[in-house]
């Protein structure tokens, strides 16, 4: 009898991801999305309430979101935060459920029935379209897909960008744009020992790209990147900067009145004008006050061979300056165009309010509009900007608000909620098998093992089926 019970508890705990004893009367919270927003929100909830149970649902078999798929391969220290997230996942009151597509395998409404609170932290997985003719020619990619390609997002593994051209144009001047430029121009020796995907490494080894233009709508004082990334570009070996002095007219005089971060950034940008090794065969440059109006096709009419830009004039100043197009146009020859103008959140479930204009879930400090018990954190809440620290602070804010609602009774904790037990049962009837954190650790170990012969920290698995096979082995 006792043996039966032990076996049953074991099976139950394996199915629901329970480990150890947990309070059956405490708040049960569900987090949708296993990236930084999800993990940081979970971390705060677990710390603040000793009776809270938190379950994190993630669509892929692998956790960590953009920390795994967005942070550049040559920025391994930024990924140290994975250790913090791993600690959270190992917490006895937390469980991770991978391979669950919320919106398809289980609805948000079903989650709301099973949990006292649901936090949407699913980020921004789509791309802002440029909205110009020729955008769908071959040879033009979103930065999201290009980064996904070198960072191992399964959906991007067949991207096969053609890197045989000499000039690449990047639209946008934020950190993602600079990451792409740096990866295109980095010496192979630097990339060889990172977790960049092997197929990207091979493609870059044969790349003909020698010149990268990073184009922005506004001026030098409005670039969205941060100084660390700019400095890396400035210091990139075997490259030189090719900037136009005329783009910097009048800037020097304004420097002293700028806030510190903008001042230091602009200072560095000005130093970079005609900097780098003169004889360097590779170059990068910023081009300002230009907006794309058309992608120009080559002779066959199918591939991008150039881009037509409208010259802008700036109205207003500082962070709020606006770009107003003039009728002056400029054509730039190029064979690769990467559009880095922003990620975009999507609607995953019709029951969730969604602002189609801003592409975020409408909310007040993390409480989803008109939907008690539903919260949001991270990019899906605020929009797709900011570094990990920004998302961290935001997630802490949402957790604070959620905890407040628990204290005030806004969330009725007296109602018993079944939590993961109910959802796991539902998923089982739908033929969906989840990936536990311990299953991810098998995938992790396999990736590290495969990376070793190449001298890389890991070789990422690119195929979801293969991930699942290893997870459940």
């Amino acid at each position: 009898m006792i043996i039966n019970r032990i076996v049953r508890i074991h099976i139950l705990s394996r199915a629901t991801g329970w480990r150890g004893l947990s309070s059956v009367s405490g708040p049960r919270v569900c987090v949708v999305g296993g990236g930084p927003a999800g993990f940081y929100t979970a971390q705060q909830l677990l710390k603040a309430r000793q009776d809270a149970l938190v379950d994190i649902y993630e669509r892929l078999p692998v956790p960590f979101g953009l920390v795994r798929f967005g942070v550049a391969p040559d920025h391994p220290e930024v990924k140290n935060v994975i250790n913090t997230f791993t600690q959270t996942a190992h917490h006895e009151r937390c469980s991770f459920h991978g391979n669950v597509n919320v919106g398809r395998d289980v609805s948000v409404e079903e989650l709301r029935q099973a949990y006292h609170a649901v936090v949407l932290s699913y980020g921004a997985e789509a791309n802002r379209p440029i909205g110009i003719p020729g955008e769908n020619l071959s040879g033009i990619f979103s930065a999201k897909d290009f980064v996904g390609w070198y960072n191992g997002i399964p959906a991007n593994k067949e991207l096969c960008p053609d890197l045989s051209c000499e000039t690449a144009v990047i639209l946008g001047q934020g950190n993602v744009a600079l990451d792409v430029a740096r990866i295109l121009l980095s010496p192979l020796d630097t990339l060889k020992t990172t977790d960049i995907t092997q197929h990207a490494l091979k493609a870059l080894a044969g790349s003909g790209v020698r010149r990268v233009l990073i184009i922005g709508r506004r001026g030098p004082l409005q670039i969205a990147c941060t100084i660390k990334e700019l400095r890396e570009l400035v210091n990139l070996p075997n490259t030189r900067a090719e900037m136009l002095l005329s783009d910097f007219e009048g800037i020097k005089e304004t420097l002293k009145d700028l806030p510190r971060p903008r001042k230091r950034l602009t200072d560095l940008l000005m130093k970079a004008v005609n900097g780098g090794e003169d004889k360097a065969e590779k170059s990068w440059s910023f081009r300002f006050s230009r907006s794309p109006v058309e992608v120009l096709a080559g002779a066959d009419g199918k591939r991008a061979a150039g881009i037509r830009l409208a010259l802008n004039k700036l109205e207003g100043s500082g962070e709020n300056a606006r770009a107003v197009p003039t009728d002056q146009l400029e054509d730039v020859d190029c064979g690769l165009i990467i559009s880095s103008i922003g990620y975009k959140s999507i609607l995953i479930d019709p029951a969730v309010p969604f602002d189609p204009r801003r592409s975020v879930v409408p909310n007040d400090m993390g409480r989803v509009q008109d939907t008690p018990g539903l919260y949001c954190s991270g990019w899906v809440k605020r929009g797709p900007t900011g570094v990990i620290a920004t998302t961290m602070n935001d997630s802490f804010d949402t957790a604070r608000v959620l905890l407040q609602d628990m204290e005030t009774g806004e969330l009725d904790l007296s109602i018993k909620k079944p939590g993961a037990q109910a959802i796991s049962a539902l998923l089982q009837t739908r033929g969906v098998r989840t990936v536990l954190f311990s299953d991810w650790e098998k995938i992790n170990a396999e990736e590290e093992r495969r990376g070793k012969p190449h001298g890389k920290p890991r070789e990422k698995l690119l195929d979801v089926e293969e991930m699942l096979q290893i997870a459940w082995s």
């Binding site: 000793q50 140290n80 190992h90 100084i227 660390k228 950034l265 570094v387």
Partner: protein, 179 residues
Amino acid sequence: MAASAAVRASVTFTQRLVRVSPDCSICPLHRLNLCTGSAGASVSAPSVSASGDCQKEETQEQVVHVVFVDRSGRRSPVKAKVGDNALYLAHKHGIDLEGACEASLACSTCHVYVKSEFCAKLPAPEEREDDMLDMAPMLQENSRLGCQIILTPELDGIELTLPRVTRNFYVDGHVPKPH
């Protein structure tokens, strides 16, 4: 990471090895000539003093008094040793100071305000620290990264305040001078 430190306390089966940045060039201990060479070693939980395992004898002169002021204004006086790293000291005492990149100058989550009379007693930030500070919200003249503060006898009595990181300004209406 302070939250995860508390979380760690209730993890029964996980051994947490604190990793110190292996890059000596950015470690303040190295720059201050306080490194005993053991900074690269793993230290097992829960003793999270990743301060380079200062091997000096604990004498009265080696004690450095530090006060952490958290986001709600609560003061936590702690006793530290010369050579201790402020970030890991905070973790040891359950202060809510995150250190996402684990002291590798790749984030700004350990941003603190240093009590003004102690600012000059700290070595000037190197360029990489300044670059990270530029990204910290509510940056002030007395902002520093906690992971770069190594305690010396001159810093006895130092106060480190955690910034309010929400969009709201201070409760009393005080607006930090923009930088």
